[in-house]
Symmetry: C2
């Protein structure tokens, strides 16, 4: 049997059997080397031609996004960053200038979030391949886990969704969204090129709600995917309210975006790197107030294990992403 026959999900399931069950299934693995300190470790591989291309993304943005995605995985576990390592595979024909731009973008993101590159490895490879591992720390009882949602919790998203997808569309089809203002265009493209991991939310949770039980993950694979993963891990269901989904204000203005398409991007666009959190309503409302205008309560956790979007009269089931790679 070849990898191609199994697909990404099938392969993941096979290979996860080599890990202890307790460490699999979150944005990062939790280790507890000493009482009072949990470490979070998470890793990502980005391959040229699969995850990025020099033709559509500047090397500095590839570096920023790679760092941001890993920092977002730490934020999704409630952890603050200790440092990142990078293993780099490169062909001899890769330009050194481009590589320095990639590292520059990465380090610029790390500096923004108060952390550093702490090591790595380089190797010859047929295409440029970037493998990042991020290490973070969290007090054990403040770790955010996917499997801790409970019926009665409400679902908080920390910001608008769909902007990164719209930004990509603007890059791929510059003629799209001609009625957007220059500031709106720049905002959407920025959300795609320079996503902001929500480590600030981690700080707020620690300061304001240190005792709270918070379940959650990040929305890097889309808002719908995050809700589905949390529900699956926690053995619960969810009902989202369509009218509460926070979307970028530009979506309401551009005539190039029909409502159904806007909803699709908000739920399934991905790469927004916001957090999707489940907690009791008494804490959710003050958290949303604290986080500001684009954070919102978008639904609730239910006993029934279905996951729906309520849209007026009908409940539309959410589906797992089209985001999987074909091998």
């Amino acid at each position: 049997m070849l990898v191609r026959d199994l697909g990404e999900q099938g392969l993941l399931q096979r290979l996860q059997r080599f890990c202890p069950a307790a460490v699999v299934g979150d944005d990062g693995a939790l280790l507890t080397p000493t009482p009072g300190l949990a470490l979070v470790i998470t890793t990502d591989m980005l391959v040229e031609g699969v995850h990025f291309s020099d033709r559509t993304t500047r090397p500095a943005d590839v570096g920023w996004r790679a760092a941001a995605a890993n920092l977002s995985d730490l934020a999704a576990m409630g952890a603050s960053p200790l440092g990142l390592t990078i293993a780099l595979g490169v062909p001899g024909e890769q330009s050194v200038d481009g590589l320095e731009q990639l590292y520059g973008g990465m380090v610029s993101c790390l500096e923004t979030y108060g952390t550093v590159l702490v090591g790595g490895d380089i190797s010859r490879a047929p295409v440029t391949t970037v493998s990042i591992t991020a290490l973070g720390q969290v007090a054990p009882d403040q770790a955010i886990r996917r499997d801790r949602a409970q019926p009665g919790d409400v679902i908080v998203v920390t910001g608008a969704h769909g902007a990164a997808r719209a930004g990509l569309e603007l890059l791929l089809n510059p003629q799209w969204g001609q009625d957007l203002s220059p500031a709106e265009r720049q905002y959407l493209i920025g959300q795609h090129q320079r996503p902001q991991p929500r480590l600030d939310v981690v700080t707020q949770l620690r300061q304001q709600f240190p005792q709270a039980r918070v379940a959650g993950m990040d929305s890097s694979d889309g808002l719908a995917d995050a809700v589905l993963q949390i529900c699956r891990a926690s053995g619960v269901g969810a009902k989202l309210d369509r009218h509460t989904l926070p979307m970028p204000s530009a979506f309401l203005r551009t005539m190039a975006l029909p409502p159904a398409q806007a909803q699709e991007w908000v739920l399934y666009g991905g790469e927004d790197f916001e957090l999707v959190l489940c907690l009791v309503p008494e804490l959710a409302q003050p958290l949303v107030t604290l986080l500001g205008s684009e954070a919102a309560i978008v639904g609730e956790i239910t006993t029934d294990t279905g996951v729906y979007l309520n849209s007026g009269a009908e409940n539309i089931p959410l589906t797992l992403g089209a985001g999987f790679q074909h091998f």
Copy 2:
């Protein structure tokens, strides 16, 4: 400028400028999230066709060696393992069976040393690419650093050198070493296929010499390379005594190995994954006794920054490896 024009060392120097200077230059980076605990993080990328090939190495051995190399980096820092992550790139045409053997070999090595795989990522890639990050812990004052050697220290190697190189030769040229016994052949091949990271030495150092200042690194790139790196980092020199270099007993028996060739393999063969340690003579002798027959004191650290092999009347300067990749 292309990567090919710079070469591995040139590229490393360029990219290391993106890391804080304090964390670069050891087998792993040291982080101290909380007083009393230092973390060591180290990463390696292995690319099919560069570091391994299905034609010469069984997938299970590729997995074992990849895990062993990273555990050896932890041992080289005086750390015990907390866990490893693996980022895997694979083409669709890769056999699933082969991948499971690779993971099996890796986990078998990890189990042998009491640790586990704690997570990872998979991606499509043009060739099979394995990127491993290992995390370990050490008491901050027990970390082994390259830059702590002092004149007057003696140099201890924890075992024989050259066996992994001889094992590779036996695999590449089965007609070589016909006068070796089956047990000797198996030992040499085993040292190549299933190297043993010296985490046991870390345990012994902690139990028997918890207060000792120990400088050192592992000999994965060769014994000569390790001595040169330690001297460069510590601003000292070294004199090795040719007659004390521990070589596999099989080397003395096989008529296929002229003394000059044996010496070359011992000094430059690489991949033996022993530790090269510098400490005061009063502690070195009991350590060697504790570690057993193949450990040895092989020389001493000098004020003069030259690094020599003393061979009777002459001092032969040691040179940095031919081990660098060409891009």
